[in-house]
């Protein structure tokens, strides 16, 4: 089981019983001087008593520390191999949302790969309600080469997660501050009732990776396309990617894509 500390904080979303149990485990390890931490691995008996533990630093410094500890627990308990008691499945899934909402998935990765915080890309899910996504469309009937600029709030919602993997303490708190942004759409084709418009835009955003006052900036040029049915004025596809982007002098790639309901 994995769990965010934010969820079991006083204002967190976990149940009172869950918060109490997480606190009990923490206190037990602390009182017995078994090692504790915010980012930590605890191994417990079925009754919730300590069997082992390891800091994330010790667990990730090589490929053997954690494996050796787990093998030691298995040997101590005499546990028999078996199937997972919970079926594995995707852990990054679209949030529940109204049927007429537009669900977007963002994936972002820095140019540096395979190091700490660079083992896999970062992801976010962004949901636009109908009133919001209607703002992506032109006011009237679309015409070839017609251009319109997105409103500030809508553009911000699309761009605010355009940064690579960073140290996140409270993922629910927005630490981005958009200083400059521009996002426009231009109709490039109208075929069989489907309008395709091209995104072009720029972004300059301050984003502190841990503390609010860090002066780290995203500078990005973005592009992409939007396809919508001219008759029903419903969105079929949205793709928005960085053409060129840097954060703290590191290049990164970010991509936002609409996820159809059937694929969620």
């Amino acid at each position: 089981m994995y769990g965010s500390n934010e969820d079991v904080a006083a204002s967190g979303s976990a149940t009172a019983a869950e918060k109490a149990e997480r606190q009990r485990i923490y206190r037990t390890y602390l009182d017995r001087k078994l090692g504790v931490g915010d980012v930590h691995i605890y191994i417990l008996t079925p009754n919730g008593e300590p069997l082992g533990g390891m800091s994330v630093g010790e667990a990730t410094v090589n490929d053997t520390n954690l494996l050796n500890m787990l093998n030691g627990v298995v040997k101590k308990l005499g546990s028999a191999p078996g199937e997972p008691v919970v079926s594995p499945g995707p852990q990054s899934v679209a949030p529940d949302s109204p049927a007429d909402s537009l669900v977007l998935h963002l994936s972002a990765r820095g140019a540096t790969r395979g190091t700490n915080y660079r083992m896999f890309p970062a992801e976010n899910w962004i949901v636009l309600d109908k009133q919001e996504w209607t703002g992506l469309l032109p006011a009237g009937e679309a015409k070839m080469s017609e251009t319109w600029t997105l409103g500030k709030d809508l553009a911000s919602k699309l761009l605010i997660k355009f940064y690579p993997q960073t140290v996140e303490i409270t993922a629910g708190v927005e630490r981005g501050r958009i200083d400059r942004q521009n996002l426009k759409l231009t109709v490039t084709s109208i075929r069989d009732g489907v309008v395709r418009a091209r995104f072009d835009g720029t972004l300059r955003m301050k984003h502190g990776s841990v503390a609010q006052n860090e002066d780290f900036f995203v500078d990005a040029v973005v592009t992409g396309f939007l396809e919508f049915d001219s008759g029903t004025r419903t969105i079929q596809r949205l793709r928005l990617v960085t053409r060129k982007a840097t954060y703290r002098d590191e290049e990164f790639l970010a991509a936002l894509r609409s996820v159809p309901r059937s694929a969620r």
Partner: protein, 88 residues
Amino acid sequence: MSLSRLLAAFFLFISFLGFAATKSDVDDDKFVAWVQKRVQEAQPTKAERKFDQVGWAKDVLDAERLAKIHNRPVFLFTHDGRVNWGRC
């Protein structure tokens, strides 16, 4: 200009317009393909989705309940942020 030359010039002009429209469509489709490739490059690969190969209990109480039923230990990983999103 004779009528035949006028017609020839007219059809040449029309065919040029047709070519121009087709070229524009091709450029637009090439752009879409380029964007799609960028989107694909950003996605987590199968190798980067190993986290999904573990059967995770929904919370610690559920993990302890399952541990008692199956007589297995509990693996509890606490963290900040959202590790399942790579934002932690």
